[in-house]
C-alpha cells in the first residue's frame, strides 16, 4: 500500500497539487469556467506556500507575465479555456520563439466564440499544431483522470525546462470538474539555475531573451533548430495507453473524456464478443504515430472518437492511410456520447449494417 496521501479532489484541484510538487513557483491567471478552480487553488496554495499567484487583467497579460517570469528563470504556469487560449496565442508564439519553458493547462470548453462551458476537444489544432503564428510546437499532454491531471502537471515542469518548450496539459470540462481519488506526489521537484535566463545579476547580465532575428539566415537557422528539437522530442518522449488493442478489429483512438467513454464501450463490446480496442494517446504531440500504424495494419477499422469536428481524426486518417479504412466519431457543442451510442456504431460495422 502506498504511503502517499490520497484525497478525493477535482481534476482542476489536482492540477495545483501536481504543479506545486512539480516545482511551479508562479501562477498568473484569469478566471474562466470550467478552469477557474485551478486559479482558485493557486490563489490559496501558491500564496500560502510562499510561491506567487497573481490575477492578471486579461489572458493577454497572463501569457506575457509568464514570458517575463519564465525569462527570469522561474517555473511558471497558467490555466484557461477556449477564449483565453485564443488570447494567449501571440504570447505562446513569442514564448516558443524565445524558447522559454512554460506550462499551460487548457480545460477545453465548447466553441466557437463564447460557446458554452461544456466539454469539447476543439482546441486540438490550436494546441497540437501550434496555435499562434510561426512554425512552432508545444508538448501536449492529455490527461483522462484527476490523477493524471496531477501527474501530468507534475511532470510538465521538468519537460518544459528540459526542452525549453511550452507544455500544454490539454484537459476538458469533465476531466477538470470530475472528482476522483488522487495521490499527491511525495517528492518536491525544483528547477535549477538556467544559464540563459535573466537573474538580474552580473553572471546573467549578458543574457538576452528575444524572438526577433532580423537576418533571414539567422532566423532560418533558429527555426530549423526548433524543428530539430521537436523531432528529438518525438523520438524521446511519447506516451500512450492501450486497452485490448493487440487483436482489435475495431480500434478506437480517443483521449480525455472521450477515452473514458470509449473505455466503457470497449468493455461492453468485448463482453459481446466484438473485438474492439482503445488506443489512448497520453501525448498528442508527440502523437503515438508508429504504434497507431502498427495496430492499423491488423485492424479492420480505425475510428477517431472526439468532441470536435475531426481535428484529431485528420491525423488518424493521415497515419492510417493505405493501412486500413478509417471512421470519425464526432460530437460537438458540449454533447457527450453515451456508451451505448458508440457500441451501436461499432456493432453496426461488425454486422455490416451501418447505423
Amino acid at each position: 500500500m502506498s504511503n502517499k496521501v490520497k484525497q478525493l479532489i477535482k481534476g482542476n484541484e489536482a492540477v495545483i497539487y501536481g504543479a506545486l510538487m512539480g516545482g511551479a513557483t508562479h501562477f498568473f491567471g484569469y478566471p474562466i469556467t470550467p478552469a477557474s478552480e485551478i486559479a482558485h487553488g493557486a490563489a490559496k496554495y501558491f500564496t500560502l506556500s510562499g510561491r506567487h499567484f497573481l490575477q492578471a487583467e486579461s489572458e493577454v497579460s497572463v501569457i506575457n507575465m509568464l514570458y517575463g517570469a519564465s525569462g527570469a528563470g522561474a517555473r511558471v504556469m497558467t490555466a484557461s479555456s477556449g477564449p483565453g487560449m485564443s488570447l494567449m496565442a501571440e504570447g505562446l508564439s513569442y514564448i516558443a520563439g524565445a524558447e522559454l519553458p512554460c506550462v499551460v493547462v487548457d480545460v477545453q470548453r465548447a466553441g466557437p466564440g463564447l460557446g458554452n462551458i461544456w466539454p469539447e476537444q476543439s482546441d486540438y489544432n490550436i494546441t497540437v499544431k501550434g496555435g499562434g503564428h510561426g512554425n512552432y510546437k508545444s508538448i501536449v499532454l492529455a490527461p483522462h483522470s484527476a490523477q493524471e491531471m496531477c501527474d501530468f502537471t507534475y511532470q510538465a515542469f521538468e519537460l518544459a525546462d528540459k526542452y525549453r518548450i511550452t507544455v500544454i496539459v490539454l484537459a476538458d470540462a469533465y476531466i477538470g470538474q470530475m472528482m476522483e481519488a488522487v495521490e499527491i506526489p511525495d517528492r518536491l521537484l525544483e528547477g535549477e539555475r538556467k544559464d540563459w535566463a535573466l537573474y538580474a545579476d552580473k553572471e546573467s547580465r549578458g543574457n538576452l531573451v528575444t524572438s526577433i532575428l532580423m537576418d533571414p539566415q539567422l532566423q532560418s537557422e533558429h527555426n530549423w533548430k526548433l524543428q530539430r528539437k521537436y523531432e528529438q522530442i518525438s523520438r524521446e518522449f511519447c506516451q500512450w495507453e492501450e486497452l485490448e488493442c493487440e487483436d482489435a478489429d475495431y480500434l478506437l483512438v480517443a483521449y480525455g473524456i472521450s477515452a473514458r467513454v470509449c473505455h466503457s464501450a470497449v468493455e461492453v463490446l468485448r463482453k459481446k464478443g466484438v473485438k474492439a480496442g482503445l488506443l489512448r494517446p497520453k501525448t498528442l504531440f508527440p502523437f503515438p504515430e508508429d504504434r497507431l500504424k502498427e495496430l492499423a495494419s491488423s485492424a479492420r477499422k480505425v475510428a477517431a472518437a472526439e468532441l470536435s469536428n475531426g481535428q484529431m481524426a485528420d491525423d488518424v486518417d493521415r497515419l492510417c492511410g493505405g493501412l486500413c479504412p478509417t471512421e470519425r466519431l464526432c460530437w460537438l457543442g458540449g454533447v457527450i456520447p453515451s456508451v451505448q451510442e458508440i457500441c451501436d456504431t461499432v456493432e453496426g460495422w461488425e454486422s455490416g449494417v451501418e447505423r
Binding site: 507575465m65 514570458y67 462551458i117 469533465y174 499527491i184 535573466l198 526577433i212
Partner: protein
C-alpha cells in the same frame, strides 16, 4: 545616430546589430538615442547596471538590446509592463526598465500599462511620445496631433474620424498607486538636462522600492515628421509641448515604502502537509463484491446535493472501490437546481457521466420529474416524500419514500435530509459500515459542529430503517 561618447552601460561595439557596429540604428536627430544615452549613463552613476533588466518594446527601440549592456528581454507589442510584472515577482531586487513608444504603450498596450500602474509595480517606465508610429513608417499614433498628416491620416488627423490626442501622463495621474509621474521633453539641451534629473529620480524610486514611476518623454521623429532635426525640435516647442505640458504631475518619493506581504517559502514536507490539510481518505479494505453503482443525487441548491455526492464517493473509495463524482456546474446551477453523479465500482470506471443511473435520490419534485425515466430497469428510486407529493410512475424499479426533510426538520437542521437519504441508501444496499462512515464524514463536511450533527442524523436514519424498512 553616431554616439560620440559612449556611456559605459552601452556595449563597446554593437555586436548584436550585425552590420555597422559603431553606430546605432536610429535616424539622425531621433530622440531614442538621447533617451538611451541618459538611461545608460544613469545605470553606471547609480551602480545598478548588473541588476538591471531592460525591457524593449515593439517599435524603433525594439533593438535597445543592441546597446544596453544589461540583462535584456524583448517584449510583444504593448506587453512590457506585464512582462515586467512577471520578472518583478521573480527577482525582488531587479531594476526593471520598461521603455515603450506611444503606439506600444498608449494604443495596443493600454490595459497592461494601466494595470501595472494600478498595482504599483516597482518599475520605471519611460514612455517615448513622438506622436507617430516610427518603426512601421509613420502611421497615426494615439498621441498624433489634430491635423497632423501621417500615412493613415493623409488628410490630417480629424478628431471626428480618428479620435483625440491622448495625454498618458494625465491618464496615469488618475490612478492612485504610481509614486512618480512626470513629463519631460528632449526639444532643447536645457530640457534634456532636466529630463536627466527626472530619469534619475524615477530610477532612484525603484532602487528604494517606492513603486511605479512613469516618465513621459516628448521625443522627435524627424524622419516621419518629414523635417530636419532642427525643424523637428522647433515643431516640438510650437506644437507638441503646448498640448502635452512638460511638468511634474506627482511626486510621492518622500512617502514610505509600500508594504510587502511576504510569506516564507515552504519546503517539501510543509507543502505536503498543506495540501493534505483537507484530510486523507483512510485506506481501509479492499472491496469484495462485484458491483457498479451509478448514483444520481438531485435537488435544489442548499440541500447538500453536491456534498452528499462527495461523501458517497469518499466512502466508496475508503471501502475499496474506485469512484467518480461529477457535478452540475456553472449556469446550470443558477435558479437553484443541482445534481451530482457518483459512480463507484470494483472495476476501473470509464465514462463518469451518469446518464442511466441505477440509483436516483430525488430530494425535490423537479428532480424526480427530470430523472425518473432515466433510471435503469431494476434500479432504485429514493424519494424525499416530505417535498415530493407525486408518486413514482415506473413499475420496473424499486422505490423508497422517505420523509427525509421532516426528519431533518425535527432535529432543527433542514439541510441534513441528504445524509438521511444517503445513509438509508447504503443500508438498503447492504453497504453501510457505520464506523467507516464516521471516519469519512469529516472529509466532506468541513465544520466540526456539522460533523456531529450529521453523525446524529446518520444514527436517526439507521433507526428509521430498522423500524420502517427492515
Amino acid at each position: 545616430m553616431i554616439v560620440k561618447e559612449k556611456p559605459k552601460a552601452f556595449y563597446d561595439t554593437f555586436e548584436r546589430k550585425g552590420a555597422g557596429q559603431e553606430v546605432t540604428h536610429y535616424c539622425p536627430g531621433c530622440g531614442h538615442g538621447t533617451a538611451h544615452k541618459l538611461i545608460a549613463e544613469l545605470l553606471v552613476e547609480l551602480d545598478i547596471q548588473d541588476r538591471t533588466i531592460f525591457l524593449s518594446p515593439v517599435g524603433c527601440s525594439v533593438f535597445a538590446y543592441y546597446y544596453m549592456d544589461t540583462g535584456n528581454i524583448q517584449c510583444a507589442h504593448g506587453r512590457a509592463p506585464a512582462v515586467g510584472t512577471g520578472i518583478r515577482r521573480t527577482h525582488k531586487d531587479a531594476i526593471l526598465i520598461s521603455y515603450q513608444g506611444d503606439g506600444d504603450l498608449a494604443a495596443i498596450g493600454t490595459a497592461e500599462i494601466i494595470h501595472a500602474a494600478n498595482r504599483g509595480e516597482n518599475m520605471t517606465v519611460f514612455f517615448i511620445n513622438n506622436a507617430i508610429y516610427g518603426m512601421t513608417g509613420g502611421q497615426m499614433a494615439p498621441t498624433t496631433l489634430e491635423g497632423q498628416k501621417t500615412l493613415t491620416t493623409p488628410l490630417g488627423r480629424s478628431s471626428g474620424r480618428d479620435g483625440n490626442p491622448i495625454g498618458m501622463a494625465e491618464v496615469m495621474d488618475a490612478i492612485k498607486a504610481p509614486v512618480y509621474i512626470e513629463r519631460v521633453s528632449l526639444s532643447t539641451p536645457g530640457k534634456v538636462l532636466k529630463a536627466r534629473k527626472v530619469f534619475k529620480k524615477a530610477l532612484e524610486n525603484q532602487i528604494d522600492k517606492k513603486g511605479f514611476s512613469f516618465v513621459e518623454v516628448l521625443s522627435p521623429c524627424p524622419i516621419n515628421w518629414k523635417m530636419d532635426p532642427v525643424e523637428a525640435r522647433s515643431w516640438m516647442q510650437e506644437h507638441l509641448e503646448p498640448l502635452y505640458p512638460v511638468r511634474n504631475f506627482r511626486d510621492g518619493s518622500h512617502l514610505p515604502v509600500p508594504h510587502d506581504d511576504f510569506i516564507p517559502f515552504m519546503k517539501e514536507d510543509e507543502i505536503i502537509n498543506l495540501l493534505s490539510s483537507g484530510g486523507a481518505i483512510p485506506d481501509v479494505k479492499a472491496s469484495e463484491s462485484d458491483l457498479e453503482q451509478r448514483v444520481k443525487i438531485a435537488g435544489f441548491g442548499g440541500q447538500g446535493v453536491l456534498s452528499a455526492g462527495i461523501l458517497l464517493a469518499n466512502y466508496a473509495i475508503a471501502s475499496g472501490y474506485e469512484a467518480t463524482w461529477l457535478p452540475s456546474y456553472g449556469p446550470e446551477m443558477r435558479g437553484g437546481k443541482a445534481n451530482a453523479g457518483v459512480i463507484f465500482s470494483n472495476r476501473s470506471i470509464g465514462s463518469p457521466v451518469v446518464a442511466e443511473p441505477n440509483v436516483l435520490i430525488a430530494l425535490n419534485s423537479p428532480s424526480l420529474t427530470s430523472f425518473e425515466n432515466d433510471v435503469e430497469p431494476g434500479g432504485l428510486i429514493m424519494v424525499n416524500s416530505t417535498l415530493v407529493r407525486e408518486e413514482v410512475k415506473r413499475d420496473d424499479v424499486d422505490v423508497l419514500y422517505i420523509p427525509a426533510s421532516e426528519m431533518a426538520r425535527e432535529s432543527g437542521v433542514l439541510a441534513t435530509a441528504n445524509i438521511i437519504m444517503l445513509t438509508i441508501y447504503l443500508k438498503y444496499k447492504g453497504l453501510a459500515d457505520t464506523e467507516l462512515l464516521r471516519k469519512v464524514l469529516p472529509l466532506s463536511v468541513k465544520r466540526k459542529d456539522a460533523v456531529d450533527l450529521n453523525l446524529k442524523m446518520m444514527e436517526k436514519a439507521l433507526a428509521y430503517y430498522d423500524r420502517e424498512l427492515a
